[in-house]
């Protein structure tokens, strides 16, 4: 397995700039400023095939290339460290243990798109991350990696740490921009895309922390090197956050295309208490679940789509045989209804409606028609909302019904849940 983002993650006090530099840090930036024009960097990242690690998997170089070259407006880079997708905690580890790798990536990205201001937007609850990033930014200023005339190149960049304050939707790029503009975080209709009209109506790129953390090595080692890792269409590595009923939860950086089974059984140590596996959410609850039959699926963008799901954020949640799927859907729907920004009708009203029905089913007041009604309501939300939260919210319902319809029926027939979701605290 190759390590790119996590190559130094467990080195002692890697978060300090001296150690980061000692371990090869900021050489990608130095090389960038010395050897490349912004357009070269964009070209290189395009060629490397790097795709966004924040959830949508959009080709990163392509996104940077959308920034209009001739626009007189200032340009902005926003680092998306809002990491709130349930089951996902990879960016947190990067920020806590190796903050500079993302900052270096962000500086290179800013240079590539011609930004002189970069916002590092961290979800408010990540206090240690905010401290580490703040300190790291200060260190980077001290060493001349940020500020005026970076490394004598004439390039200027200011970086601000910005803390969110408890809103999942602010991880959605346009809501993040609204939040940065000091507004309620309601998603914006696209187009215009941020690359054309983003922060303060200026061209803006929003990139995930992990995405950016890949950039220094791509610059240093070249696009071909990056292409040699992972699969042809999903090059590089991906960090998977493993949680739930698993013996060894945690973050694992894997080459793209590694089989799911390897992650769960070899690295994760198998299911807790030797119980049977029931379901896996492979990329955060916004993506459809998988079951035991899918254990051999390869973890990369294309293979997961083929298996009827998505790579998403890489948050892998493992559920054993005792887990009630209706309750699972209910918990996740509670999340989505709580986090819907409330702008579009189908998402605002639909998530609550779905929640109400699931609640009844779970608590013994379900009717047989409810299952089809759930699917009908889902249909009425999907594809009709501004942002992907609406599309995501229906995923847990649709996919649990797809694989576990009989469990829903049992909830109706038995007037409630037979596998009460009662996991004990040790």
């Amino acid at each position: 397995m190759t390590k790119i983002v996590f190559k130094n993650i467990d080195k002692p006090e890697q978060y300090k700039i001296e150690n980061y530099i000692k371990n090869g840090g900021y050489q990608g930036l130095a090389k960038t400023l010395k050897e490349y024009k912004p357009a070269d960097i964009i070209e290189m990242v395009k060629k490397s095939g790097l795709r966004g690690r924040g959830g949508a998997g959009f080709p990163t170089g392509l996104k940077w290339g959308f920034i209009p070259k001739d626009s007189k407006k200032p340009k902005y880079l926003c680092v998306n460290a809002d990491e709130s997708e349930p089951g996902t905690f990879k960016d947190r580890e990067i920020m806590e243990k190796d903050p500079h790798i993302s900052i270096e990536g962000a500086i290179i990205a800013s240079y590539a798109i011609g930004a002189n201001v970069c916002f590092y937007y961290i979800r408010g609850e990540f206090v240690l991350c905010a401290q580490r990033i703040q300190k790291a930014i200060e260190e980077a200023y001290d060493k001349g990696y940020l500020g005026k005339n970076i490394l004598g190149s004439g390039y200027n960049l200011d970086m601000y740490l910005y803390r969110g304050a408890g809103a999942y939707i602010c991880g959605e790029e346009t809501a993040l921009l609204e939040s940065l503009e000091g507004k309620r975080g309601l998603a914006r209709v696209k187009p215009p895309f941020p690359a054309v009209e983003g922060l303060y109506k200026s061209p803006t790129v929003v990139n995930n922390v992990e995405t950016l953390a890949n950039v220094p090595d791509i610059v240093l080692k070249g696009a071909d090197w990056f292409l040699s890792i992972g699969t042809a269409k999903s090059p590089g590595t991906k960090i998977f956050s493993l949680s739930g009923h698993i013996n060894k939860p945690g973050n694992y950086e894997l080459d793209m295309g590694t089989p799911l089974r390897h992650l769960i059984y070899d690295l994760g140590g198998g299911i807790k208490d030797n119980r049977k596996l029931k379901a896996i959410i492979p990329g955060g609850p916004s993506v459809p679940i998988l079951t035991e039959e899918h254990l051999d699926v390869k973890l990369d963008f294309e293979s997961l789509v083929q298996a009827g799901t998505m790579l998403g954020s890489g948050g892998v949640i493992v559920m054993d045989e005792t887990t009630c799927m209706v309750k699972t859907a209910l918990i996740l729907m509670n999340f989505f209804k709580h986090e819907s920004c409330g702008k579009c009708t189908p998402c605002r009203e639909g998530t609550v409606w779905l929640y109400d029905i699931l609640y009844r089913l779970e608590h013994g007041e379900g009717k047989k028609e409810d299952i089809d009604l759930l699917l009908k309501v889902c249909e009425n939300i999907g594809g009709r909302t501004i942002c992907a939260l609406g599309d995501a919210a229906i995923v847990p319902v649709q996919s649990t019904i797809k694989y576990f319809r009989e469990e829903y029926i049992a909830h109706v027939e038995n007037r409630g849940c037979l596998t009460p979701f009662k996991f004990q605290l040790n």
Partner: protein
């Protein structure tokens, strides 16, 4: 002003820091939250005055984000993550355990004002579930009953 001089200074320092003034609202609210532990109408009004932004806009923004309580919480606000990964490892049990130990329900403050309990959505601590968060500040992870009891004792003492 109800806001302390230190908080006022912090807010004023944010005022002209960003390309556009409204960007300062959230950082300013953080400063207020750090001083009081919650946002009141009065403190938000003063924040607006300091930033020269209408009070209404400050309240609008504050109301969207869940991290700022709008009324006083206990000195230690214990928020348990009850999203999926934590739930799979006993989060509901953890809430119940807290409610029993502290003899208050979720959303309430103990009579001595020391503790209050809340629920939160996923805090990105799923690999170390179950967990809770104290005052939006400290994560307490990999919890067991024993660890919770010890935490409560420690907090009570401090």
């Amino acid at each position: 002003m109800i806001l302390s001089e230190k908080t006022q200074k912090k807010i004023l320092a944010e005022k002209n820091k960003y390309p556009q003034p409204k960007t300062a609202i959230l950082p300013a609210l953080y400063a207020v939250y750090e001083e009081f532990g919650y946002l009141s109408n009065e403190t938000m009004k003063e924040t607006g005055e300091l930033l020269n932004i209408p009070f209404l806009e400050i309240v609008e923004v504050a109301s969207f984000y869940t991290m700022f309580p709008k009324k006083p919480t206990g000195k230690y606000f214990l928020q348990v993550c009850t999203n999926l990964s934590c739930a799979l490892l006993g989060a509901e049990d953890l809430v119940k355990h807290l409610e029993e130990k502290l003899k208050v329900k979720t959303g309430q403050v103990t009579p001595d004002g020391v503790f209050s309990i809340g629920r939160v959505e996923c805090l990105g601590s799923c690999g170390t579930a179950p967990m809770l968060q104290v005052n939006n500040l400290h994560f307490q992870e990999d919890l067991t009953k024993e660890k919770v009891d010890k935490l409560l004792e420690e907090l009570k003492k401090s």
